[in-house]
Symmetry: C2
Subunit: 357 residues, 2 copies
């Protein structure tokens, strides 16, 4: 078990050693730690090696000039200048929040960025401002549209955070596939099989091998099959792609620059880097914030009181499992998988910094 503090210190050192500023290393670390705390190890320490390899390959800029390249009172396109995703994303969300302060809502489409970690982190930045926060991003092209075997889209997550009053906020953070890609990576690292309905092989035959996506297979969209609504998952994923990449001028769909080593970097490109999309909506653009938050408490109470199906304890509110994880993990610490420990040890050795103790 590793304490949160030790992981924090280690992660900050890794990114500072790569050349990031204090402030950028702090934001990057904050997002990694949030992923571990919220029980999403698929987006936590396991990913450090990926960023390290991208840095080695000269594919990320540790001294980026993240800037607005086009704007209106309520909108902007931000160019991330090849930054580590967290740096471009946190700044973009900050801009959305500032614009919302002036016009009621703010919307930012970001290009020339990289993998930004957990989508929920940025949506939650809006909460202290009594705003609803929205965050979405494209990702490694590994997902096939309905009726296809071509890897055209990422797992393209959507996060929406809504403030409440006496209750903790509503925080939905979900990929537009039945399972997140990182969770397949965790299963593969553990040598486990996955249920049918997550991935298909290169011929489109359903597979239970989480590693099939490293051998030409693909993930399917939320819904799984056409009959069960996979075309709706395809629509969602496509919307994330258009908002994040076409609006910003990033590399859309199959042109999203890969953040995993098993995908080749395409020669051809349709735009600059990875794209994200952020939104912030002032509650008081619609009604008094206090009244809304009290109504959200009522919403939460109503949904918590839904009758569980047989064999189930309770009905969850989006954000419940992650918050409960956070309480537990802050207390107990983080249990890193052995392969992840080995990877981090190697990164530490190569960068010449002390490994986690």
């Amino acid at each position: 078990m590793y304490s949160i503090e030790s992981l924090e210190e280690f992660t900050r050192k890794v990114f500072m050693k790569m050349g990031c500023s204090d402030e950028d290393a702090r934001v990057i670390t904050d997002v990694f730690i949030a992923a571990e705390l919220r029980g999403l190890p698929s987006h936590g320490m396991l990913r450090i090696k990926d960023y390290y390899q991208l840095w080695q390959a000269g594919r990320i800029n540790v001294k980026p000039h993240v800037r607005i390249v086009h704007e209106s009172p309520g909108t902007a396109v931000v160019d991330g200048d090849g930054a580590i995703g967290m740096v471009a994303a946190a700044k973009s969300m900050q801009i959305a929040i500032e614009k919302a302060g002036k016009t009621g809502t703010g919307w930012v489409s970001t290009r020339n960025s990289n993998h930004y970690g957990i989508a929920g982190y940025y949506s939650m930045m809006a909460l202290p401002h009594d705003m609803i926060g929205i965050s979405m991003t494209i990702a490694n092209p590994l997902v096939a549209p309905t009726f296809s075997i071509s890897r055209m889209l990422g797992t393209n997550p959507i996060a929406v955070a809504v403030p409440a009053g006496k209750h903790p906020p509503f925080v939905a953070d979900f990929s537009t596939t039945p399972i997140a890609r990182g969770k397949l990576a965790v299963a593969a690292k553990k040598g486990e099989k996955v249920p049918l309905g997550y991935v298909q092989d290169a011929d489109g035959i359903p597979s239970d091998d989480p590693d099939i996506i490293t051998r030409g297979g693909s993930m399917v969209t939320l819904g799984g099959t056409r009959e069960q609504g996979s075309h709706k998952g395809y629509c969602l994923s496509a919307i994330v792609d258009i908002f994040s990449a076409v609006l910003s001028g990033a590399g859309f769909g199959p042109y999203c620059p890969p953040s995993v080593a098993f995908l080749p970097v395409k020669e051809e490109t349709a735009g600059r880097g990875t794209g994200h999309f952020f939104g912030a909506m002032r509650i008081d653009g619609f009604q008094k914030a206090e009244e809304f938050k009290s109504k959200m408490d009522e919403w939460i109470d109503t949904f918590r009181a839904a009758k569980p199906a047989r064999g189930q304890d309770r009905v969850l509110i989006p954000g419940d499992p992650e918050r409960e994880n956070e309480e537990r993990i802050r207390r107990e610490g983080v249990d890193l998988l052995v392969p992840v420990q080995q990877e981090l040890k190697q990164v530490a050795d190569e960068l010449g910094i002390p490994f986690l103790s």
Copy 2:
């Protein structure tokens, strides 16, 4: 087969006879006809009887004063004054478009409305303005959250329309359940069974009876089961509910006023009427509209070129099937189900207007 013109004339007469203004009857008719043309009869003429019954029950206001009750430069809450949904919705989307003209984007949450027909209609209103259009709505509470048997949510559709250049626009319009409720109604009217994974009985046991929802059963969210991601469908549906009903002050979740006769009107309420949410984003708030539209053409070409899975002809772009339906149905006319013809005949007789010939 009925011609579009004859359906149009009949529908307009029905609503004018109920007391709607010329203009309101025209909008209502336009949305019904759009549903038939796009091949969504579940939201077309089949629904006229529902509105007629609501009118008979004194539950819709045919002379509404639809108005803004709260606003900021880029946001508003609109009160529909008990209007037929199409009337409140079209006016709300128009306000979102006007606000987008000034600040870059416009967002309207609408309360005190009723069932508004197809979500896609309103999102497409943004297209001629070189804007992205967004539309969502709550609906009859018939959907159980993950792990539950309580009917807490509607099929809560989301529609997003994105302009393209030489190609027709991207138009995604989908419920956040594996299948739309109206499609269950069509299956039930035809006496057909449905695949497992759409509905469960009152005890939470999966059922193939589309009519089970009239006997205490419930629909499930997109994803179907927890293992296949139904919690993501629940998140989506909850987001639609919060944006449409909590932000506006409508009756959220289980308090959405039913538009079908088999659901009782609840005594208790959490707000006013049905809620919707609309958004319009100016393309040129992000980049030059012409460049974006040309990039969308490239996006569409790229996705059309995805390799079909074995046994499939082609990969679709959201909006393709509906557009192809429209071309065919405009030519061939509309084939109304016999029970729908009978219902419409009864409505016509009771209102004293000539039935379709």
